[in-house]
Amino acid sequence: MTFAQYRTARAALAAGLGALVAASVVMENFPLAAAAVSVAIIIALFLRSRVKEIIADERDYQSGGTAARYTLSVVAVVGAIASFTLLTLRSSNPLFEPIGSVISYSVCGMLLLYSFLFTYLNREYEGRRKLLYMSVAAILVLVFVVAGLRIFSGEDAWRCENGQWIEHGHPGAPMPAAPCH
């Protein structure tokens, strides 16, 4: 397969995947979207392996790195401004708060990931392993702390107040059958 044929096939694959994901969102069939993305990745990797020509070289990687740095800067600044604006104006529209929160958390996550990868790639081999182990340990601790808070904090639970069961948050269990004293 030539590089030109690969690019055509890749464009067709992207178009098909886009249509399938859009259809699955409309039909609310999210497993279909996940399956479509997984299959598309496998097909793309297979197509790439069939290309005899060189697809990317050091100049492409250098350009890609520079482009990624600029994109990171732009997305971080625009995302921060957008999330601050939406959160500030949350009283005018109830949707502003969740959208602003998602944007701000996404930007934070992106910057954290960039910091980690930059530090990781700048270290020598032994330093990389140590950083990787420390990062995995920190993530596990964070997951357990957050999970513990969610499970044991009393959020999303039924509470007995003034002789009545009151819904707090969105409890998954039905209202307790036992009387509330």
Binding site: E53, I54, I55, A56, D57, E58, R59, D60
Partner: protein
């Protein structure tokens, strides 16, 4: 400090196309175009690969001005 090279002259002297040189150096043809036009400074590895493909050495292929 600018880096100049004589890749195009040596390539043409050896009767090679840009595609031939790109395949020998394991890069894309566009990168050879950029190199010949002095629009890209190669890594040491790529400079060595190009010099080897042209049957010369790095210091004869590239000059600093």
């Amino acid at each position: 400090m600018a880096i100049k090279n004589c890749i195009k002259e040596l390539r043409q002297k050896r009767g090679m196309t840009q595609e031939d040189l790109a395949q020998s150096a394991k890069v894309r043809r566009e990168t050879i175009v950029f190199l010949e036009q002095n629009r890209y400074n190669p890594s040491l590895q790529l400079a060595h690969d190009v010099a080897e493909a042209l049957g010369t050495t790095i210091d004869k292929l590239f000059s600093f001005s």
